[in-house]
């Protein structure tokens, strides 16, 4: 493990050079989102008298956006930085000229992606709490949930990125997978409002499992049986992603 820490240390050093922009976004974004959706849009929703789950809209939407943020950060951290380390900066090759092995390169980078996810989500969670939108102490568990969501997305995405020649596929993934998941897997409205067929599609998306898990925790309405399903599904995706990443990294870097 100490070997993976050495590659983690690279990402940390690298991030120190560029952190200002991303720290700003990770604080400003949640404030904007919660202000616009929770308070702005929420005023309309609350007046309609049919608020989802019977809570004020901000308490409904905030955990959804939290989970979606974990997904988006994880996916994007596993796109350009991974391909760049192979094609542009060639940083993975630098690591591979030392005692570091493929697994250390994969785990070190994944650990770094998880750090980005968890630190951003922690800020988000604090902002949600400041808006008074966390209804239960169980809400704290939303943070480890975000970690799990993060790896469930970053590991498979990194495995895929390591097979690419250029970044054209990233735009496709964002447009046809990440954004639809962001919009339609229970983030902004309950998926019970979706037509039956689409509802089943939504059940299969990892983002719905993440959103539902986070929401049940911050609202303190946990169905433990369902929570186990969520965790198992996300964990399975994370483990599968890691196994594939080890394979695609090796195939790419050690030809």
């Amino acid at each position: 493990m100490s070997y993976a820490l050495r590659s983690y240390e690279f990402w940390l050093t690298f991030y120190r050079r560029t952190w200002r922009g991303s720290v700003a976004t990770s604080i400003v974004n949640p404030v904007f989102y919660l202000g616009a959706l929770g308070i702005g849009l929420g005023t309309l929703v609350n007046k309609s008298g049919t608020t989802p789950d019977g809570v004020e809209y901000i308490a409904f939407v905030a955990p959804g956006v939290l989970a979606a943020t974990a997904m988006q950060i994880a996916t994007n951290e596993a796109m350009w930085p991974v391909l760049g380390s192979i094609r542009w900066t060639r940083g993975y090759y630098a690591m591979l000229a030392t005692p570091l092995q493929i697994r250390h390169i994969v785990f070190g980078h994944q650990a770094w992606m998880a750090t980005r996810v968890v630190s951003s989500c922690a800020v988000y969670l604090a902002v949600i709490a400041a808006f008074g939108a966390i209804h239960s102490p169980l809400g704290v568990l939303a943070l480890p949930a975000c970690f799990l969501i993060g790896v469930a997305f970053s590991a498979p995405m990194a495995a895929y990125s390591a097979t690419l020649e250029n970044d054209a596929a990233f735009i496709v993934v964002n447009r046809f997978a990440v954004i639809p998941m962001f919009l339609f897997s229970g983030t902004f409205f309950p998926i019970s409002r979706l037509p039956q067929v689409l509802r089943w599609v939504a059940y299969l998306t990892p983002s719905w499992h993440g959103v539902d898990l986070c929401r049940s925790l911050t609202l303190g309405r946990v169905d433990w049986g369902l929570a186990v399903v969520h965790v198992a599904y996300l964990a399975a995706l994370a483990v599968t992603g890691l196994v594939f990443a080890l394979r695609t990294y090796r195939r790419r870097l050690m030809k």
Binding site: T13, M95, L100
Partner: protein
């Protein structure tokens, strides 16, 4: 000298590398001894870099035997790499970070403590004449400076073998000489250098011993002087012509003036032991060349003789 000290640092027998249908390295044998500067000379696609990557334990051999520092690169890759210094063909420096940070990060990959890395970084950057750029970003550095930084970085773990894959490709002549100068200095200090190159002057300058590679095979092996003696003559007379092809009957006319004649695009090479004498006799025959040059034989001539082709595509 005890038995262990006589073991070659790198030992290859029947070494093969295949990529799908392509055979990049086709059963090569070589040994590299401690303290040697050993070169792989050949054109692009000869299999030099593939060989280098196998020695660097980042590319598993497809067949044959390879031992580096007495260990098997497939089983003990990480242990071997801990003792290697690698200067890859394409830079792997981080352009966003400073010179010092690049050294630090790399040293940490080897598990070295910060203090040790800082000390070594300062010493090594002084060695490659970059001590004044310690805290500048890498991006604005010239190609030659980046190369020197890569060399300094590759020495951070005090390696037993330094692998240099085309160390001066893409550098201007002045920058190349600075790099050569530093590599010479390393040689004098007893370092073991393995390098690939398609520059014959580089091979002649730096290598104690080299193999000439062509199409995945070793065409010849020896010191630069030995190879020239064996496969070429002492001197060469180059006759240059304005036309693409020298006059057809010319080769026949000058036959007998030289030990061997090679016809290239726009020039004839006459291999001889006394260049001036041969040039004189060519002149006496009334051959109208645009220019005549008498020069020493180089590894380029060796390569031409062995393969019938020039090293760098014309």
């Amino acid at each position: 000298m005890n038995a262990a000290a006589e073991l070659p640092l790198v030992h290859a027998r029947g070494l093969i590398k295949r990529f799908d249908d392509l055979v990049a390295v086709d059963g090569i044998d070589f040994d590299v001894q401690k303290g040697e500067a050993f070169g792989f000379l050949g054109p692009n696609g000869a299999g030099k870099s593939s060989t280098m990557r196998m020695i660097g334990c980042v590319s598993p051999p497809s067949g044959g035997t390879l031992r580096v520092l007495g260990l098997d690169p497939v089983k003990n890759g990480a242990d071997i790499r801990a003792q290697l210094g690698v200067v890859p063909q394409e830079d792997t420096l981080d352009l966003e970070l400073t010179v010092r940070e690049n050294m630090l990060i790399y040293g940490r990959y080897f598990g070295l403590g910060r203090k040790v890395v800082h000390e070594r970084a300062e010493r090594l950057l002084e060695f490659v004449q970059l001590e004044e750029r310690l805290d500048s970003k890498v991006e604005p550095l010239s190609g030659g400076m980046k190369r020197r930084l890569t060399i300094a970085r590759s020495l951070i773990n005090e390696p037993d073998i330094l692998l240099l894959d085309e160390p001066t490709t893409g550098l201007d002549p002045q920058a190349r000489h600075v790099v050569w100068d530093r590599l010479h200095e390393l040689k004098h200090r007893g370092a073991t250098l393995l390098l690939t190159t398609h520059y014959m002057d580089e091979a002649e300058q730096l290598c104690d011993r080299l193999v000439v590679m062509d199409k995945g095979k070793i065409a010849a092996e020896g010191s630069p002087v030995e190879l020239i003696r064996r496969y070429s003559t002492r001197e060469v007379v180059e006759l240059r012509f304005a036309a693409e092809r020298p006059p057809d009957d010319l080769a026949a006319r000058i036959d007998g003036l030289a030990r061997r004649v090679e016809t290239l695009s726009g020039r004839l090479l006459l291999y001889t032991d006394d260049g001036d004498r041969t040039a004189e006799r060519v002149h006496e025959l009334g051959v109208q060349a645009q220019s005549t040059l008498v020069r020493r034989s180089t590894l380029e001539d060796v390569f031409l003789h062995l393969t019938g082709r020039t090293l760098v595509d014309e």
